[in-house]
């Protein structure tokens, strides 16, 4: 077994085990770690497929940003993050799951058994998948979608902030009634100048 085959086997196994962990874990933190394993495995497979730029992007965006976002939200929810409880719509859930399993099994059977011979990879050009090549393409014929993607990201960030912002901000600003706040500590009228106001002791 060559080094490339061994690398593929290890990365594929890590991907599959991570994916199963993500779906089966009762504790969402373990699920997030399984997703992290899958993402790292897929980054390794990208390296194997001569997509170095995408492997780096995968590590930075997924492992560095998306997983951290998931873990932040799990930490924010605390113990409630895991308590899904018994669902109400049990029948529709198992119907959907069974249908998806049937269709997935059919697709896997078709891919595995009915493929028309093996498509062996030819040696790739040295510039295939490098930062220069993919970057040149992104700023060449992919320029308009690239700019649209930046606009989409801005809209998504603003929308996420608007949706997730807490609504009860006003309550914390309001003061209890009957208590005016003194902004100025000196005498308010010339007649009071003789009796200086005692300063509140420093806390």
């Amino acid at each position: 077994m060559s080094a490339g085959s061994l690398f593929f086997a290890v990365c594929g196994l890590v991907c599959l085990v991570g994916a199963l962990f993500t779906v089966l874990a009762q504790n969402p933190i373990r699920g997030a770690m399984g997703l992290l394993a899958t993402i790292l495995g897929i980054a390794g497979l990208f390296m194997e497929l001569h997509a170095q730029f995408l492997a780096a992007i995968q590590l930075i965006v997924y492992a560095g940003a998306v997983i951290v976002l998931f873990v932040f939200v799990i930490m924010l929810l605390g113990p409630d993050a895991g308590s899904a409880g018994p669902g109400k719509a049990r029948a529709s859930r198992w119907f959907g799951g069974g249908l998806a399993a049937l269709l997935s099994g059919a697709a896997l059977y078709l891919v595995g058994a009915h493929s028309t011979g093996a498509t062996v990879f030819l040696p790739a050009r040295p510039e295939h998948g490098t930062v220069e090549a993919v970057g040149g393409m992104l700023f060449g014929k992919g320029l308009v979608p690239f700019e649209l993607a930046t606009a989409l990201l801005i809209v998504a960030v603003v929308g996420a902030i608007a949706v997730a912002r807490s609504q009860n901000k006003k309550k914390s600003v309001e003061k209890p009634e009957g208590e005016t706040r003194r902004m100025f500590v000196g005498p308010l009228h010339p007649r009071d100048a003789g009796h200086p106001i005692e300063k509140e002791p420093a806390k």
Partner: protein, 105 residues
């Protein structure tokens, strides 16, 4: 039998396996966090298939460009999805997606 990892079909099979696991997880689990993670699994599986097919066509890199845009959109989707999840949690104090049924009543 061809060498493991040097044939397109191995990658496509692995990709469809990961996609199936993600689809099943999305449909069967009722924890919204796990459902969002299953969506990420499916997007990653599609990326793997695109890059593997692109490896066969060595003269262009359209598949890698598509995968790049899918990664960008997946990041935006995760941010918005988690914001909606937090909003649901404030409303119902749970992350169970069965509880999000206000439109039904």
């Amino acid at each position: 039998m061809n060498a493991l990892g040097h044939v397109l079909e191995h990658y496509v099979l692995l990709s469809s396996l990961i996609f199936s696991i993600g689809a099943l997880g999305f449909l069967v689990r009722r924890n919204t966090l796990v459902q969002l993670m299953s969506i990420e699994l499916m997007l990653n599986a599609v990326n793997l298939a695109l890059v593997a097919y692109n490896r066969v066509h060595g003269d262009n890199m359209d598949g890698q460009m598509f995968a790049f845009f899918i990664i960008a959109i997946a990041a935006a989707e995760a941010a918005v999805g988690l914001a909606i999840l937090l909003s649901l949690y404030r409303l119902r104090s749970t992350v169970n997606s069965d509880e999000a049924d206000t439109l039904r009543h």
